[in-house]
């Protein structure tokens, strides 16, 4: 996701961080209490989470997978706060980033986690360390085999993930340790980085050693000759309050995935664009609880999308029209209402989501998405209601007054019908914007057509992006058409004559 510059994204992450920790009971919209498995925003994390989910289900425990919630801090805080119950992590990340105890032993890690009510499975069987990778042909031409060889080439361009740029075991300490003087370093999204590497926009990037793309793009891993990177053994972190049955099922995954196996599963996931399918491969390929067909997925995304936009729009109409009526009377209150709803609109949508996550009752859920969409929908409705009412010609207003109608009768029988065209136009604008903005809901695990868009961005796969983008665009057109029809039903005929 390159929607925002790095500084903004970091800000959002900090917000989410404080947010989730302030919010101990983050609920989902769904009623029952399945165990929630979270994952970070990259293929391997998705696959491991999917495997964990399947293992829980096989043990008879209800589980759901909330895909690609963000980076380490978000997942860790969500786990501690109870927003999620399980997520895949790496020992190096735990010591460096979470506990800030570089070089701690497994026992030390376990003890520290224990005090926070968090348990850790034994390692799953592979070490996915950080690595620097280059195109094989360029590395060969420059004679670069190890990270220390890079010192002789300060002209090389680095394209690093934002997480790696910030990590305690990331770029800064790495460059200090090896004495790398490269100044051309930019932050780039992980999957897009591979494409940039392939077409020569960058020369070096960070990768995970089990990344299927290393082979796919014909890259070489530079040897960490001064042993800078810690061990990154994959484990599952879980809340110790989980039922024993669930913990046992997770622990049974220990030592079952070798490095080669993981590369294969990652490749499968990226090849089929289907994480559930990769998990299925792990479990032996039979039975298809995860193998959802495309029409079924499309239905699930679309109905969730409509649910998010429909509820938020309905709320915005219920609140926005009365606010618009108040605002149309002008004065200080009118300024406050119009100014307030205008100010909300200027907050970038992603930031608005991040701002809402800390509020108790919201958290990481569909509720938050609905609240954000609701706030976004307000301005067009409030403003159009207010201006539609203010634009009613004075002679008509006065005629209504002089006829001796009460203010309620004037509003119901005269003013609102006269302003109906403008009010409906505002609602239509909100609805269409809403459909587009709702794709961001997937970022906080609320689902909808944003799900394939975000997976597609992760996989750098345009077809998957289009699976969400095209239905979203069609939905917007459909909604537009629906409102054109509603115009004919709801705008009194006498007002439509002008157009003919």
């Amino acid at each position: 996701m390159k929607l925002f510059p790095r500084s903004v994204r970091r800000g959002i992450r900090v917000l989410l961080f404080s947010a989730i920790s302030a919010c101990p009971a983050v609920n989902s919209l769904h009623a029952a209490n399945p165990i929630v498995v979270g994952s970070k925003k990259f293929t391997e994390s998705y696959v491991l989470a999917e495997i964990a989910k399947r293992a829980l289900e096989n043990a008879g425990v209800k589980a759901e997978h909330r895909q690609g919630m963000g980076g380490t801090i978000i997942l860790w805080q969500a786990l501690r706060g109870g927003g999620i119950d399980v997520y895949p992590e790496y020992t190096g990340t735990i010591t460096e980033e979470i506990l800030k105890k570089p070089g701690a032993s497994t026992d030390e890690i376990r003890r520290s986690l224990d005090t926070q009510g968090i348990g850790m499975t034994p390692d799953l069987g592979f070490n996915n360390t950080y690595a620097l990778v280059m195109r094989r042909d360029i590395a060969a031409k420059l004679g670069i085999k190890t990270i220390s060889d890079l010192r002789a080439h300060p002209e090389l361009k680095f394209g690093l993930t934002h997480e790696f740029l910030d990590r305690r075991d990331g770029w800064r300490p790495l460059s200090t340790r090896y004495g790398l003087k490269n100044t051309r370093v930019l932050g780039i999204e992980h999957s897009l980085g591979y494409a940039s590497l392939a077409n020569g926009d960058i020369d070096v990037k960070d990768a995970y050693s089990t990344d299927a793309k290393i082979a796919q793009y014909n890259l070489v891993t530079l040897r960490d000759d001064w042993l800078f990177f810690p061990q990154y053994k994959a484990v599952l972190l879980f809340r110790k309050s989980l039922p024993q049955r669930a913990i046992k099922a997770l622990n049974q995954l220990a030592g079952t995935i070798s490095e080669a196996r993981m590369i294969q599963l990652n490749a499968e996931a990226e090849h089929t664009k289907d994480y559930a399918r990769a998990a299925q491969l792990y479990f032996g390929g039979h039975e298809s609880s995860g193998g959802e067909t495309f029409p079924h997925k499309l239905w699930r995304w679309t109905s969730r999308h409509l649910e998010l936009t429909g509820i938020s729009l309905a709320l915005a109409v219920l609140i926005g029209v009365p606010l618009g009526i108040l605002a149309s009377r002008g004065g200080a209150l009118g300024h406050v209402i119009l100014g307030g709803s205008g100010a909300i609109q200027t907050i970038p949508s992603l930031a608005l989501l991040a701002l809402l996550v800390p509020v108790p009752f919201f958290g990481i859920s569909a509720r938050t998405a609905i609240a954000a969409l609701f706030l976004y929908s307000l301005l067009p409705i409030v403003r159009n209601t207010a201006s539609g009412l203010q634009d009613i010609p004075r002679p008509l207003r006065e005629s209504a007054v002089v006829l001796g109608l009460t203010s309620r009768q004037r509003l119901q029988k005269i003013y609102l019908p006269l302003a109906s065209r403008s009010i409906l136009a505002g609602i239509k604008t909100s609805a269409v914007i809403n459909i587009g903005t709702a794709t961001l809901a997937a970022l906080i695990g609320a689902g909808g057509l944003g799900e394939p868009i975000i997976s597609g961005l992760n996989l750098n796969d345009h077809a998957t992006i289009l699976e969400g983008a095209i239905p979203a665009a069609l939905l917007a057109l459909l909604v537009q058409a629906l409102f054109d029809f509603l115009d004919r039903v709801l705008i009194p005929r006498g007002l439509r004559l002008r157009r003919q």
């Binding site: 002679p395 005629s399 002089v402 006829l403 029988k413 006269l418 006498g494």
Partner: protein
């Protein structure tokens, strides 16, 4: 006979502009009183003050010898019919809906409403098939007929007309003027008619009140004004318009 409406020492300022200045005027029953004068003389403002669209800065307005208060305003309004230049018909309602709106909200029986509409159609010579049309589908003359009907729906004690025919073409205008005169006679209607056109005033008014800069210059019949002008301005105004009267 006592006046139906009486203005006593009424003043109204718009910013620093004095629209109405210490004006006292009894409006007698069963007569058409015409307020005439150059534009900006405050004649429309007088109507707006009576019907409560403007609040007088000074003075009082008596209705049936009782001062109009905030509490009595709505009831008084229901006894007044008000017609403005472009009719003020609601474009989202048909002619019939415009006519029945007020009565329906006062919970009058449907049959009574529809009977009243039939009577008024006859009185104002509005073809019945026009009732189903929206204001934008009516001619200018028909629109003013419907406006007049709407004002007469509840048989008002007082009819206020603010240049109702000013935007119509001369032929339609002339027809409506004579029809209005005869309607007013038939109904013994008390009315105040605002115009800047002396010919119209002479044709319709029983009493003509000539105003200038928010004050009354002279009140009387057309003959009084033309034969015994009270001020130089009255002479000038009548002479200026008499030339158009003759052409």
């Amino acid at each position: 006979m006592s006046a139906l409406v009486e203005l006593r020492g009424v003043s109204k300022l718009f910013g620093n502009e004095r629209a109405v200045s210490g004006l006292s005027l009894p409006v007698e029953r069963d007569r058409v009183t015409v307020l005439i004068g150059p534009s900006g003389c405050g004649k429309s403002t007088v109507l707006r003050i009576i019907v409560g669209l403007e609040k007088a800065d000074r003075g009082e307005i008596l209705y049936n010898a009782q001062p109009i208060t905030a509490a009595s305003l709505r009831t008084v309004r229901q006894r007044i019919g008000y017609v403005i230049q472009d009719g003020g018909l609601f474009p989202h309602l048909t002619a019939r809906e415009n006519l029945s709106l007020q009565s329906a909200l006062l919970a009058k029986p449907r049959s009574q409403i529809s009977q009243r509409i039939d009577e008024l159609c006859e009185l104002t010579r509005l073809p019945k098939n026009a009732l189903a049309r929206y204001p934008l589908e009516l001619s200018g003359g028909q629109r003013q007929r419907v406006s007049l009907m709407r004002a007469l729906m509840l048989s008002p004690e007082l009819l206020l007309l603010d240049e109702p025919f000013a935007a119509l073409d001369p032929l339609v205008r002339s027809t409506l003027q004579s029809e209005l005169k005869s309607i007013a006679r038939q109904l013994h209607q008390t009315a105040i008619f605002v115009t800047h056109d002396l010919a119209e005033a002479a044709r319709i008014g029983d009493t003509i009140v000539l105003m200038k800069e928010g004050r009354i210059e002279q009140a009387g019949t057309f003959r009084d004004l033309s034969e015994m002008p009270a001020t130089k301005f009255v002479t000038e105004f009548i002479n200026a318009q008499r030339s158009t009267l003759l052409t």
